[in-house]
C-alpha cells in the first residue's frame, strides 16, 4: 500500500532562514512524489515533482526536494524563507493501479514565516 507521512503539522521559521518540511513515503514500487502549496483561501499549486529522473528536484519559488530511496524520504527545502512562503504544504504520492491514478495526500504542514 502507498502512503505518505508529513512529520510536522506546523513549522515556524524566521524570514531569511532555511526551510525544511519533512515527508516520508511508503510505496511497494518506484513512486511519483509531489509537493503542493496552498495559500490561504486559494487553490493548490504544484511546487515540484519527482518521477524517477534526477533525485534532486528543483521547483518554483526556490524550493527543492531530494528523493532518498534508502530513507524513503522526500523532504522539501528552501535556503532562505520569504514572508510570501507562509502557506500550507502537502506531500503527495501518486497511486497507479491499472487505469486508476489518484493522489494520496499527506495531512499537510503549515509553514509560518516570522519577520
Amino acid at each position: 500500500a502507498q502512503s505518505v507521512t508529513q512529520l510536522d503539522s506546523h513549522v515556524s521559521v524566521s524570514e531569511g532562514t532555511p526551510v525544511l518540511l519533512r515527508c516520508n513515503y511508503s510505496s511497494s514500487y518506484s513512486p511519483s512524489l509531489f509537493w503542493y502549496v496552498q495559500h490561504p483561501n486559494k487553490g493548490l499549486q504544484l511546487l515540484l515533482k519527482y518521477t524517477s529522473a534526477a533525485t534532486l528536484v528543483k521547483g518554483i519559488n526556490g524550493f527543492e526536494a531530494e528523493f532518498k530511496k534508502s530513507e524513503t524520504s522526500f523532504h522539501l527545502t528552501k535556503p532562505s524563507a520569504h514572508m510570501s512562503d507562509a502557506a500550507e504544504y502537502f506531500c503527495v504520492v501518486r497511486l497507479v493501479a491499472g487505469n486508476n491514478r489518484k493522489l494520496i495526500w499527506g495531512l499537510g504542514t503549515s509553514l509560518a514565516v516570522n519577520p
Binding site: 509531489f34 503542493y36 483561501n41 486559494k42 487553490g43 493548490l44 499549486q45 504544484l46 515533482k49 502537502f90 501518486r94 497507479v96 487505469n99 486508476n100 491514478r101 489518484k102 493522489l103 495526500w105 499527506g106 495531512l107 499537510g108 503549515s110
Partner: protein, 111 residues
C-alpha cells in the same frame, strides 16, 4: 492562459436545498476530479471522470453526484446539503492521470 475555472467562488445554500458547483477547463484534459477539503485538512477525493467513465470513491456519500456533459465541463451536485458538507470544493484536471491542475475552489457555506 489555459486554466481550470470554478464558479462560483463562494456559495451559500440552505440546509437540504440542492446546490450545484461548476468547473470548466481550457486545458483539454481528459480526466477531471472533485475534491472536498475541510478546514486544516488535506483534500479528499470524492470522484473523478476518466474520459466519460465515472469513478466514485468508496466512501463518497450518495448525497454527492457528478455530471460531465462534455470534455470541458464538470458539475458537482449536492442533493441535500447538511451542515457537515460545508467545505472548500476543489476541481482538478489531468491528462491521462498525470499532473493534476487545480482550480481556485468553491467555498460552500450551509445555513
Amino acid at each position: 492562459d489555459a486554466m481550470v475555472i470554478q464558479n462560483p467562488r463562494y456559495q451559500v445554500t440552505q440546509f437540504g436545498k440542492p446546490v450545484t458547483l461548476s468547473c470548466s477547463q481550457t486545458l483539454n484534459h481528459n480526466v477531471m476530479y472533485w475534491y472536498q477539503q475541510k478546514s486544516s485538512q488535506a483534500p479528499k477525493l470524492l470522484f473523478h471522470y476518466y474520459d466519460k467513465d465515472f469513478n466514485n470513491e468508496a466512501d463518497t456519500p450518495d448525497n454527492f453526484q457528478s455530471r460531465r456533459p462534455n470534455t470541458s465541463f464538470c458539475f458537482l451536485d449536492i442533493r441535500s446539503p447538511g451542515l457537515g458538507d460545508a467545505a472548500m470544493y476543489l476541481c482538478a484536471t489531468s491528462r491521462d492521470g498525470g499532473n493534476q491542475y487545480f482550480g481556485p475552489g468553491t467555498r460552500l457555506l450551509v445555513l
